[in-house]
């Protein structure tokens, strides 16, 4: 009598064997295989007893709150381009621009310097930049860490990291310009360097062989970019405190 192999018994347990009837019949006739199958069933039943913790009543809402915060901004602008809301907003904006133009023409000259002083308050600009850059560095760091820690025997798909790197690159221009405007050369310099690294990632093939992955990892390590981001991130967080007291508006909204 040919006994069932352990593999065949596993397939039988999951209902994926080729000939279920034959396996069933064999199990009825063969005590050895029946014992082995019984042992397999008991072990897998014990595995089933491993509980999953309850993430809480409001879990769905809390996941959405976290996810929503990190959704890429560009998609939010895609949908309602031609809706009436946008048309109305556009008309209102045009009205405001005309009003601003007329006010500028006829308002007394003496009031202007004060208004300009508020608008170009360098301290305010710097605080805004710190909050935004802190968030930006954190997201960049996540992409780089994922790549630095990735491990693959075959080709590794990095298209998700590439998409995020692309989003980050398109965002960084605004931050670099603001850094330039507020005269923060350290932040500007790091953002420029980070930009080159992110561009390097977006231009890589979307599926990396283990050799290419190792090569990319070596390049990241050679540039020490992760270390620089950590240092800058920690500096930014330390300086952010006064900005946090100013309000709850998010970094992206501010910029």
């Amino acid at each position: 009598m040919n006994h069932l192999t352990e593999e065949e018994l596993i397939l039988h347990y999951y209902g994926e064997e080729g000939d279920a009837l034959a396996a069933e019949q064999h199990l009825e006739e063969c005590p050895d295989c029946r014992n082995l199958f019984g042992s397999l069933q008991r072990v897998l039943n014990v595995v089933d007893s491993l509980p999953v913790p309850d993430p809480g009543m409001d879990y769905e809402a809390s996941v959405w709150a976290q996810v929503q915060r990190r959704l890429p901004a560009r998609r939010r602008y895609l949908a309602p381009v031609f809706s009436w809301r946008w048309v109305a907003a556009g008309a209102a904006l045009s009205g405001l621009m005309v009003a601003a133009f007329l006010a500028g023409r006829f308002y007394p000259q003496a009031r202007r310097p004060q208004a300009m002083a508020v608008a170009s308050d360098p301290q305010h600009g710097e605080r805004v930049l710190l909050v935004a850059v802190g968030d930006y560095l954190e997201r960049s760091q996540m992409v780089l860490i994922e790549l630095a820690n990735a491990h693959a025997h075959g080709a590794l798909d990095i298209s998700s990291q590439q998409e995020r790197a692309e989003d980050l690159v398109s965002e960084s221009r605004l931050y670099r310009q603001t850094a330039e405007h507020t005269g923060d050369r350290a932040i500007g310099g790091l953002l420029e360097e980070l930009d080159r690294v992110l561009l390097d990632i977006t231009h890589a093939p979307s599926k990396l062989s283990p050799v290419e992955l190792e090569d990319m990892r070596r390049r990241l390590e050679a540039k020490g970019i992760l270390f620089k981001i950590r240092v800058m991130g920690s500096n930014v967080r330390n300086q952010e405190e006064p900005a946090g007291a100013g309000g709850t508006v998010t970094a992206r909204q501010k910029l």
């Binding site: 994926e16 042992s39 008991r42 897998l44 014990v46 595995v47 509980p51 769905e60 959405w64 996810v67």
Partner: protein, 192 residues
């Protein structure tokens, strides 16, 4: 009116974040279960869930609307978990067993007059042995086993998630079950 997945995906693709919210709220709990079984850690599972939805959102354009959104999302979550488990393994960090505070002890909820194997199977010692045995599996074996055993995917589907041949997926499941059997046979045996 409640949106079905197909409609919600279609709306989310055109930038409707409220539609995406429906998908997040509908699938987050089952994704958490999958991620917890794969990572063995509540915090990691929560991170995986968030990361999976973000990846899904960015890849919505690539989603084939004829397929099941849930399965596609599971695939993303399984890959996220796999990446995380691999990176942990690579750094030789052992996954901590779930803290006592993270879950209720199921034994406590059993009636005290229920002795026998069920009670034994749910004891914290057994639970720890099972968690330990799961941690001993390689990331691929663990993924293959979780998908086959807990999620009920067939070997063909498991191979698609793992991006390997069905034969290779099957062998990962075999190796996982064999390892679990070796580790857990003593406590699962009726003589105990």
């Amino acid at each position: 009116m409640e949106l079905n997945d197909v409609l919600a995906v279609s709306k989310a693709r055109s930038g409707d974040t409220d539609a995406f919210r429906v998908l997040v709220e509908r699938h987050s709990r089952s994704l958490f279960r999958l991620a917890f079984r794969m990572t063995g850690n509540q915090q990691d599972a929560e991170d995986v869930v968030q990361e999976s939805f973000l990846r899904a959102y960015k890849q919505l354009a690539k989603f084939d609307e004829r397929a099941s959104f849930g399965t596609w999302l599971y695939r993303i979550a399984a890959n996220c978990s796999l990446d995380l488990v691999r990176s942990r393994k690579r750094r030789s960090e052992h996954l901590a067993p779930p803290a006592e505070s993270e879950m209720e002890d199921p034994v406590a909820s059993l009636p005290s007059s229920a002795p026998g194997p069920e009670r034994m199977a749910l004891s914290s010692e057994v639970r720890e042995r099972v968690a330990e045995a799961m941690r001993e599996l390689s990331p691929t074996e663990r993924t293959a086993f979780v998908l086959r055993h807990f999620e009920g995917m067939c070997m063909e589907e498991v191979s698609r998630v793992l991006e390997c041949q069905p034969g290779a997926a099957k062998h990962s499941v075999f190796r996982a079950v064999q390892k679990l059997r070796r580790a857990l046979e003593p406590i699962a045996s009726p003589a105990k």
